[in-house]
């Protein structure tokens, strides 16, 4: 059975101008994903396997030789930094929204990590007493 991966629960993220900005609420690190990174990130929203990611990119861009290696490297970076977690099921989004537009070519994902907020986080940490949920998130 393949392993499915999805964005971790403590990660907040937005995509602006073709770049994903993701912030880890657990430690204050933040990240930028560009190139084909945002496409891959969108597929990780609900759960997808590594093979599923490769298939989705190849369906969009054709058989590009570097896709498999790029996907593998990016997933390793995302996993190492706690941005994605394993899940036992595949989400509903397993394909990319559309075929590549005319002239759009495959770009390797670009991943950057920023740790300049960590100092704040270490100086002013929050100790959660009730992690069961609640305001402002709906109770579990």
């Amino acid at each position: 059975m393949p392993e499915y991966l999805r964005i971790g629960p403590e990660i907040v993220h937005e995509t602006v101008d073709g770049e994903v900005i993701a912030i880890d609420l657990d430690n204050g690190s933040y990240y930028s994903l560009a190139g084909s990174g945002p496409l891959i990130w969108s597929l990780l929203a609900e759960g997808i396997s590594e093979a599923g990611l490769r298939d989705a990119l190849e369906a969009r861009f054709g058989a590009v030789e570097t896709i498999a290696g790029d996907v593998s490297t990016l997933l390793e970076q995302l996993r190492e930094n706690g941005l994605i977690v394993a899940t036992d099921r595949e989400g509903a989004i397993a394909t990319l929204p559309a075929k590549a537009a005319d002239g759009e070519t495959y770009e390797a994902p670009r991943f950057e990590r920023y740790t300049d907020m960590k100092d704040y986080f270490l100086l002013d940490p929050i100790h959660e007493v009730d992690s069961a949920g609640g305001w402002p998130r709906p109770a579990a």
């Binding site: 912030i23 007493v129 305001w135």
Partner: protein, 375 residues
Amino acid sequence: MSADPAAERATGVDLADAYFEQLRDRFEDASASSGSLDVEMAGLPLRLHYAGEALRANLLAPFEHLAAGFAGDPVLAISAFDTASSGIEPPEPLWDPVEAAPGTNPVVRLRSAQACVLAAAGSRALTAARPEAGEAIFHLPDATAVPAGERAAPIREALQLLMAARGRVMTHAGAVGREGHGVLLVGRGGSGKSTLALSCALAGMEVAGDDYVLLEPDSLTAHAMQSTAKLTEDSAGRLRVPAAAIDPAGFEPTLEGPAKALVDLRTFTPGALRRRLRIVAVVAPTTSSPTSSFLSDSGSKDEVGRRNPRLGRISAAEGLRAVAPSTIVQSGFGGGGSLATLAGLVRRVPSYALDLSPDPAANAAVVDSLVAGLG
């Protein structure tokens, strides 16, 4: 005793809400000599109750520029008391104590669907709020010895919780402008936001805040909070801030770096304060010399050899990276909603990096002409 969510569920007791009620009862006990300051903040009537004049003078005075009369009940209410003035202690904590190493301020948070309690171990500030109901209670051990962080951003957590429930995002940014239009000055502590905001005030521009504002996303409005700004000794010297305008506590260590003193804009640049500015751009000041992380060359110099300020357009994503992490890391909660709001802002207005010159007036002139061009 430790808060036990499982026990809470089993007994049906909302520990955070129960603590809110206990703290409110203690405020009632403490409020024999209470007063209130009515303000309009972010377009909302807010009543600040205080038990003892020391709280008004030492904690709440920076909100006096927002004073406003209103008929009927306020939408929001924050009640503050301290033990030294009233002799009333807060209720026993429901959580295990957390050690605060020197220079740190760890916060214990207990929250439920109704209420949120925040106990800062370093400053010993205690906040309990019912955000949806618009009520918060605040306690300090001694209102005559308000900790530096609390003086710089008074009752920050209470305001953040109550305002977030009404769609206002407390944003780590300054706001300056002209004729009601302005730019959001963004970046982490030490990036030059406060110095630039005060440079603009000295140049006759309008200021809604130097470090925190309440952002109302639909109207792209930055609303003022406290009237104080934080400056390093170097910045105070370059801006020629008179000693009388600097808070008597002087330059105190900050969590994020060099010592800073509070300057109250009500006395330093009284005509500059505005309740709100409509945001037309995001500006990320940078002080890295000779180049910045955003701008790649060292630029021109003025007649005495100082670098001229340089303004360059940056992408919306770079603008978001400049404003969002420090806002969200400092808020510690509601991260997803805040990030979405800030992403909405940078999608709607252009973002710029401003590589600052050592000349404050030249920096302000660049911001002024940017606002004039976009406003």
